[in-house]
């Protein structure tokens, strides 16, 4: 048993249901450690978005509790503190942008904290640089590409300097290039110590994460490294999920008696393995 201090976000026997609907999250217990990069996957309607909302305190559990840095998200008196620690990026970037200029939009969060102007400026510079939008700071959002808009939405939350970013399918509306951009930004953030919980249905992206949560019918089906999760094709198949390209390739190779060591599920590792094997 680990102590609760190891966890930045902790779910304990969480239940959740929308009014008039059946239970969406059913007895979910898990924890996000500081600095982790977690990918949350699962079929449509499995409760992924709901879980993202619960993690950021946007939704309150019907039973059980969610704690951020030891603070209960159901406690209204700490909701401000929770919002500053966990940023939630919604699926559609268009609906999250409040200002007609990149810079002004990023400033919205720190302005809400009523920080002095120089501090707001510093945070805006930091957030814009972190997502690589320096050259577009004067653009109105409707003249940005999908990937740029999503990076802007991320910057808007980074300006609050959260310990953790929760992203609800940030790449689902993007083309491959926009997806690469956003994933690049996330990896950079993780490298610099930000905790990231990303909901995704691109298995290739999930394979890049440090840990994978598999959710189905509101229940946690698996909580393990990508290598372990994607080495169990029967589980994913049962849930109607695909394998990441590298894991699929490993399967095809295995069918021809070329054994790829277990745990090779992302492209980089696969390339390393193949290069060594072919030499």
């Amino acid at each position: 048993m680990t102590s609760s201090n190891d966890y930045l976000i902790q779910f304990e026997h969480v239940f959740f249901a929308y009014p008039g609907g059946g239970s969406v999250i059913h007895d979910f217990s898990a924890g996000v450690r500081r600095g982790e990069f977690i990918a949350l996957i699962g079929p449509n309607g499995s409760g992924k978005s709901t879980l993202a909302g619960l993690a950021a305190g946007a939704l309150r559990p019907a039973a059980g509790w969610v704690k951020v840095d030891g603070m209960d998200t159901a406690d209204p008196s700490v909701i401000g503190a929770i919002r500053r620690r966990v940023g939630l990026v919604l699926q559609n970037p268009d609906n999250q942008l409040v200002a007609a200029r990149v810079e002004e939009d990023v400033a919205f969060g720190p302005e809400n904290l009523n920080l002095p102007s120089p501090e707001v400026r510093r945070r805006v510079e930091y957030a814009i640089a972190a997502v690589g939008l320096d050259r577009l700071r004067d653009r109105p959002p409707h003249l940005l590409s999908g990937g740029e808009k999503q990076r802007l939405a991320i910057a808007g939350l980074l300006a609050l300097e959260p310990s953790c970013l929760v992203l609800d399918e940030p790449t689902s509306m993007l083309d491959p290039r926009g997806r690469r951009e956003v994933l690049g930004v996330l990896k950079n953030l993780v490298a610099k110590g930000t905790t990231v919980l990303q909901v995704t249905h691109h298995m290739g992206e999930a394979a890049e994460a440090g840990r994978v949560w598999v959710l189905a019918e509101g229940k946690l089906q698996a909580d393990a490294s990508p290598g372990t999760v994607f080495s169990r094709p029967e589980l994913l198949q049962r849930l109607g999920l695909a394998l990441p390209p590298a894991a699929e390739l490993a399967g095809c190779l295995a069918a021809r008696d070329i054994n790829v060591p277990a745990g090779i599920v992302n492209l980089e590792d696969m390339v390393h393995f193949l290069c060594r094997a072919l030499k």
């Binding site: 919002r83 919604l90 400033a107 109105p140």
Partner: protein, 266 residues
């Protein structure tokens, strides 16, 4: 890229007009509007026109941009011209049944047309060179005395900012919905008015639904970014009047005085 340009849309730039304090722009506008409306022949209207030429020139935007912003309003402009031309009393030049067109009518009509055109360009200069947020920040400052009367000025300014921010987004969305319905055979351009209005229903309903969904998302996103109604907010850039702002206001005030003066003299 700017083909989807609509009225009231910010066009990024670094011109002196772009960099002006939004409050100064609003004050200058408040001074120049009466000047335009009072301006008669010839010194006054010339001065107003010159002032506008200088300001639009300083804005660094191509004249075509201003021209295009006026296009959707040509019906209004034409109507006001015809009304003036037809209903100004004077020696008739042309008889069209019971309508007389007189020379003073034509002159007054032309003057009115010119004034309205100038007013529209003034509005365009402001909206093209000022982001909605700057504009609403300026308005917020101008209206701040009303806070004492418990008018929620800050919140009203935020509402206005959001409305302006979503104009282009909703235009795009409307265009997309229109195309989606047309590609399924919807027809908005033929038939009686009744039929056309009926045809709009499958366009309006999804548009409204989407607007509400967006509003829901937006409210959540704002809360997630620590927005609280009524809470004090700081600013990325504190508004600060500089010499140029005072100069612009003074110049515009002088213009108003001049126009007023010509009015009194003639």
């Amino acid at each position: 890229m700017l083909s989807g340009i609509t009225m009231g849309q910010y066009l990024p730039g670094r011109s002196p007009v772009h960099r002006m304090d939004p409050r100064a722009k609003l004050l200058a506008a408040a001074l120049v509007v009466p000047a335009i409306l009072l301006a008669g022949f010839w010194p006054a209207i010339t001065a107003v026109t010159l002032w506008l030429a200088v300001v639009s020139g300083l804005s660094g935007l191509r004249p075509g941009v201003y021209w295009r912003s006026m296009k959707p309003l040509w019906v209004l402009l034409l109507l006001s011209f015809t009304m003036q031309a037809f209903f100004t009393p004077g020696e008739p030049l042309v008889h069209l049944g019971w309508i007389n067109i007189s020379e003073p009518g034509l002159v007054q009509g032309a003057l009115l047309l010119w004034r309205l055109g100038i007013l529209l360009v003034v509005a365009s200069v402001i909206t093209f060179t000022t982001t909605p947020l700057q504009l609403t920040n300026g308005l917020e400052w101008l209206l701040s005395p009303l806070i004492r009367l418990r008018v929620p000025v800050r919140e009203l300014a935020m509402i206005m900012n959001l409305a302006l921010r979503f104009v282009p987004t909703l235009f795009d969305e409307a265009r997309l919905l229109l195309m989606a319905q047309q590609s399924r055979g919807a027809d908005f351009t033929h038939g009686s008015i009744r039929e056309r209005v009926r045809g709009l229903v499958p366009f309006m309903v999804p548009l409204l639904t989407n607007i509400f969904r967006r509003a829901d998302d937006l409210a959540l996103a704002m809360e997630l970014r620590c927005y609280q109604v009524g809470a004090p907010r700081s600013r990325l850039t504190e508004l600060r009047f500089v010499a140029g702002d005072y100069a612009a206001i003074a110049a515009t005030a002088m213009l108003l005085v001049f126009v007023w003066g010509t009015r009194l003299m003639w």
